[in-house]
């Protein structure tokens, strides 16, 4: 197989470089919905929301990562994802995520009439929920 149609994917968090591999397709949770990137995609820059980065094909086939708060740069042959939070689903502490969710709900209840606080609370909730979803899927996958 010609490796000319392989994307070079990088996932970088403040602490380390999690992924530096090739893939044929990458799913990225942009803040306005998932986008799938194939080789030759037009250059794109987007903020990412809480969700999962999924890699398909190449060296990194089948890998998934939970990410939040970051952005992605797409070039025709390269995808670079920068995220403040980036974890493997099996590394997620679901108890901790549950606590975060509760904390978010408390924030939401206490927000009063301030739009800013609501946004903040919603963000915490969204992050915790997708974190839980991500870890849940991994647990279900390992049992089957």
């Amino acid at each position: 197989m010609a490796d000319t149609d392989q994307l070079r994917v990088r996932l970088v968090s403040p602490d380390r470089i999690l992924v530096d591999q090739t893939a044929t397709a990458v799913e990225v949770p942009s803040s306005s919905g998932y986008i799938e990137v194939l080789f030759g995609h037009a250059p794109l820059l987007a903020a990412i929301g809480a969700g999962e980065v999924r890699l398909h094909g190449g060296e990194s086939d089948g890998q998934r990562y939970f990410v939040a708060r970051g952005f992605v740069e797409v070039l025709p042959e390269r995808v670079t994802i920068l995220a403040e939070v980036a974890e493997k689903p099996e590394e997620i502490d679901s108890g901790e995520a549950q606590k975060e969710l509760q904390h978010g709900q408390e924030l939401w209840n206490d927000a009063g009439e301030e739009a800013e606080k609501y946004d903040q609370a919603n963000q915490v909730i969204a992050e915790a929920e997708s974190k839980l979803a991500s870890s849940g899927r991994s647990a279900a996958g390992s049992h089957s």
Binding site: A42, P43, R69, F71, E73, L82
Partner: protein
Amino acid sequence: MANVLDLRRRIRSVKNTRQITRAMKMVSAAKLRRAQERAITSRPYAAMLASVLESLKRRIEIVDPDTGEVRHPLLKTREEKRILLVVVSGDKGFAGGFNTNIIKATTHFLGSNDGKEIDVEAIGRKGRDLFRRRYPAARFQEIESHDGHAPRPERQRSSQIEVIGDHPGLLEKLSFDAARELGEEIVDRYVHEEIDAVYIVYNEFKSVIQQRVVVERILPIIEFGRHEITESQEMSAEERARAAEAALTAGVSLQPGEAEADIQEFEDEAKKFGTAEVDYIYEQKPREIFDAILPRYVTSQIYHALLESVAAEHAARMTAMDSATNNAGEIIDSLTLTMNRVRQAAITREIIEIVSGAAAL
């Protein structure tokens, strides 16, 4: 003259001390290796943030063409009347001049900014304890809410310099989340115009033999990807030689390792991140992306400073403990010499007594 028994006791005690300092040195060396790795692996992220901001800056109008004002609050410069100074020291002592140098640099900064209102935010127990004794803590007055909007608490300033915030254990288990909380708080205060500038004092760590105490401006941001260092204190040649010697005996390499070379390559590439000469499709408006990234840039700068400071602290402790171990060795040598001399003298005296006693018979 001291007797042999006393000297023997002292030698034993110094030997025990030497064992402790040697153990501390090896522990610091191990911790240093880990801290060094963390500091290095965090570089690409920071470099990428800086380069993407730089590239976005060219695509949006930062300065409002009508009023000539900067649009983003974090880029706005104001006259420096109220300054926030973040002081990063260590949690523990036994690290040679590490904490002293930080405190000296801070004191110097406070002295040269006389007449301004300065808040000292101390991270690390050593600095916190000292500045708390020296300056009063900041007090805030909660204001009753009138219209559903909770107003920001009102500051009750009683002194030119006050200590603000408390972060116990932040350095011990340094995580990005902790740095983020700190960063968000600082950004929040800056945006609400409670402070006009933010500086950070910390030990910059380039390698075991290249460290310096720096005062760096974090806010307002003038240029991306550059450390706005306003003051710095380099290591002396003597300190450097001692550090190199300590590193050698502790098995810490001075040369950049393979992992570091990889990162270096990555970092070079990171600088190109987001700067390709193509027209990007922006999922969101460039301005929105820019606004979202800017506060993160501040956080990443703070995180970077904290990581470097932790690595520098371990390096300083390793060097200090190496000197202590060497000094203990010297003391042991000189005490052993004295002890042998004393013992010899006693024997000689006894022989003379016996001989002269025999001659008198």
